[in-house]
Symmetry: D2
Subunit: 334 residues, 4 copies
């Protein structure tokens, strides 16, 4: 690993552990530090990953450090990223860059043409299934894309205490679908309409949020996209995408935990889909860290950064406004 660029992990919580393990296992990166305000958390992960515990300031001051992986708490992402960029470090930032659209735009100067490469981790772009679908569409194999249907159904709702800090269903959860929609549509949505209900848990409504939504996007060309979201599917972690074009359709479904089928008089039972994002997206998490290695090696530009962050967040903002007003929202007004 003598030539692998030295990187640090900032934040050793749930997603920090995921990205830290990917970085440690990737021979193209040299994970040198783990930073976390909670010392035992940092120490445990550093021990597992065979690297040092350090402070953020010390890490950013290390001239040998090439980049950082930011997986701190969401509310701190933007400040940490700005500090890292100011220190000239390449940044891998767990999504979202920030939950506040205005605040994000206020830092456009530092973020849109950053001093060092900035990758914001919309991991679904690295899922082999979504990639296969995008390649199929881009190759024109279904003709001109006319409509999309994106499904993201969580297996079970988060604890109610999480809701007030989440930014709401659209900024926290639908944000992935907004990014996928922008990527697959290959055209900026012009308008958005959303209806949302609270059907899963009254505590979510009590916290001012919704848990079940249908969102429609319309592009200037007439392309339509429906997003289907729920906080609780009752059957597993359901993430699908269907694309309809002038010559046919293409779609990606849910991988299953095995290819086992059981045949009884009740029918043929296929094995369950994955129970959560950790196993479903294991490959995409590793792949996006590998993409960061490409960025550090100078052989790739970050596929998603400030523009993708603002684009997806503006759609989330529009969805929230549409639900509040009961009317469609023009993206130009967001």
């Amino acid at each position: 690993m003598g030539n692998a660029p030295k990187v640090a992990l900032l934040g050793a919580g749930r997603m920090g552990q995921v990205h830290g393990r990917s970085a440690a296992a990737n021979p193209r990166l040299d994970l040198a530090y783990v930073v976390d305000p909670h010392a035992p958390t940092a120490e445990t992960l550093a021990a597992e990953l065979d690297c040092a515990v350090a402070s953020q300031d010390a890490v950013l001051a290390d001239p040998a450090l090439a980049g950082v992986l930011v997986a701190t708490s969401t509310s701190t992402h933007l400040d940490v990223v700005l500090a890292a960029l100011a220190a000239g470090k390449a940044v891998f930032c767990e999504k979202p860059l920030d939950l506040d659209l205005a605040r994000l735009r206020a830092h456009a100067a530092q973020l849109a043409s950053p001093a060092a490469p900035l990758y914001v981790a919309f991991n679904r772009r690295f899922d082999p299934n979504f990639q296969a679908l995008q390649a199929r569409i881009a190759a024109g194999e279904i003709g001109a894309l006319e409509s999309l249907h994106l499904i993201s159904h969580d297996p079970a709702p988060p604890p109610p205490a999480f809701i007030p800090t989440s930014g709401g269903l659209f900024r926290d959860f639908s944000i992935h679908d907004f990014d996928v929609a922008r990527w697959l549509l290959d055209e900026e949505p012009a308008e958005l309409f959303a209806w949302a209900s609270c059907l899963v848990d009254p505590a979510i409504a009590a916290a001012g949020d919704v848990d079940t939504a249908r969102i429609v996007l319309r592009c200037a060309s007439g392309k339509l996209c429906v997003i289907s979201n729920t906080r609780r599917s009752g059957y597993g972690y359901d993430q699908r995408a269907e694309a309809y074009g002038s010559k046919g359709a293409a779609m990606v479904g849910n991988p299953r935990v095995s290819t086992l089928e059981t045949w009884t008089p009740a029918g043929a039972l296929a094995a369950p889909i994955h129970p959560g994002f950790q196993s479903r997206y294991a490959a995409s998490y590793a792949a996006e860290v590998d993409h960061f290695a490409d960025v550090l090696a100078g052989v790739a530009e970050p596929v998603t950064g400030y523009a993708a962050s603002v684009g997806a967040l503006a759609l989330a903002e529009a969805a929230a406004r549409s639900v509040a007003s009961g009317a469609p929202v023009r993206l130009a007004d967001v």
Copy 2:
């Protein structure tokens, strides 16, 4: 067939031939007459089905006649039905009863509590697949229903000349989905929002219509339903329904023309879905004529009549208004 009730077929066009053949093959009905303003059309079908050609007046005047199957041109449905009911004949009417909501409501007195049984043929309620889904939902097997997704994609657009007489995409085509939505939701939708584009054929836009739509329904309980429509799928006749509930999901897909699979390095190719409604819904067309035999035998009430017709047509009307206004429409206002 000595005891089978005597019935007549009014209208020997495309759907008249479908229903006429079902009636002739059904041992519980005695198809006695075929009526059509175009004599050769009537004669050809009467010869095939081994019954007599007659005029509508003569048929309705036959005291031995128990019922009529109405498959005349859409614009005449209502007048023919009213005449048949006035003559005391049970009616099987190909959908729609009428394309004009106000006109339909104006005849509520004769249609809502008709002098003889009135069945309006929303055939999808007799498709074994949709029936299996409805039974599963009604039995509570997916818990409380929370959302629906209905897909109706035609294989290819109709000739442009048909468009001006069709009533438009929503009254002509989506009407089936509106009926299925009301049936599966088991709750009247309170609001509707629709966006529609013309992406398939500019001649459709020139005729003042749309060919691609996404419609969202919302019930007072918060249940949501998305309807996906296109006039041209590029891959066959696609009719599916997905139901999401508090405990899981259930869905029905497209039967295929065979169970053949072909394996090559490109993947596993499953046989095509049906190319059109004739083969896809052959069983449901026969089953709805059998339902009419039940109605004539006095062992069943018509499953769909005036109320279903008005309910579905009001949703179509709301969809057209929503597209025109760009805003959601309350069904109470339609």
Copy 3:
């Protein structure tokens, strides 16, 4: 039906009812008589099918009669068929023509070049799924056929009392697979090896038969075919065929009773396959009666007659000998 050829049904038991209903519903045939030694059985079916009860002698003496459908008890098939052919009547004979290979061959003169057309009803050749597979193979789409796997698993064993009269697993049950093998291989098998067990019901062993078998066929060209049989699957009526060729594979599976899928944490449950041959092969039974109408109309030669009967029965005989001897059997020796 004035011009439809007049036919009679001989035998009104289980398969007689199936074929009688197909004949009555087929506008290209005029089913005039039902014959059965048990008068009430004949009368009930004749009433349902709106035709006359008659004796076999009277029927065969009717100069207006064009053909007979033979569905009498298996042990009488050959005598009835010979009588009908002698009377110049075209014959549709439910399989098998006879269970005794030597006896069948002894009548080769009358059966191989019969005085009137002789169709022996190996119904699987009229199943749309098997037909699709055969067409795919014949068209060369999987290259040169190299091996086959045929699966026939009954849902539940027959009553033990049936076993002694059945001819044994191979003559009664595997016979369909032997016919399908000959059809799909398009080359006469040269050798056969079989192993069989009694795993389902000891009463079957007590009756001198087996209930679970694996049979391997080898052609002179080296093509191999495995047949998998059981009297009790535990999950439904399972009938599949897989073909492996030099360029890929093609296979047909089991149609399901609907396209319903149910998603729960346990997985995705597809609707059951058919519970028995009646619903699974409804279309093929109707199609083979329609084939007989083609034969009577002079537009088709019977697809299977004496040669197919002897070919399949010789394989059954070889299987029984292989199980008895524990060694492969050359078909030339049977």
Copy 4:
């Protein structure tokens, strides 16, 4: 990795690279040495895996070394394994332990109760799909197991030059199926019958081997197992298993490279299955190295060693004899 046991890789060819990478990536093992008679091969892999190049003698003489992974050329496996065991090193041996049944049995004393743990890598036992099937059978969920069907079809034949050194189809290729059969049947097969052809490449016949086979196993209890093998499928790397029991069936199929489906008028095309063993069994290769870590940690006994090797090789020997003699072979005679 301070506490991870020190291991060496013997053999840096195709499978050595697979196992070496798994060992290097496994934090529970400390891969210290790579050994290969061809120095550049050893050096390249050692550089990649960040470990030292050494000779076999030096490695076995290292008192700190806990175990070896043997992936040398097949003909040397047994000698290397015996030397490693004599040196007290735990052994992970790529299958087969040897191709000669008599030679293997001649070393039963050293191998059946070895001086150090001996794991022989039948990797399919670590495939999550096969494991799921085995667990389902073992849990009695399909009732009593009655029959098995194992399919192993290679995508394309090996170079003809490989054939003479391979041990033949049964010892080289079917050996995996023999191991899976013994594992899933949970009963030693008593008899075997095989037919084999050369349909893929005449050069294989010229080298004295076959490329297409059907093998039937029979147990004393009457359980039957069919194995289907070909050296060239024409559609990918096909590895499946179907288990039929008294209450139903369970089966595992081929994972696909993605969940992509493409819908056109020709049908629905699912993504290809894996093109070869490397990607299909990536998880199982890693899992078996992890099993070796368990063995070294003293928390597991090797799941397969001498007994499994002899059991599978005896079936291969029986298959070769059956093909040669054209008759079934009793395992007691092998």
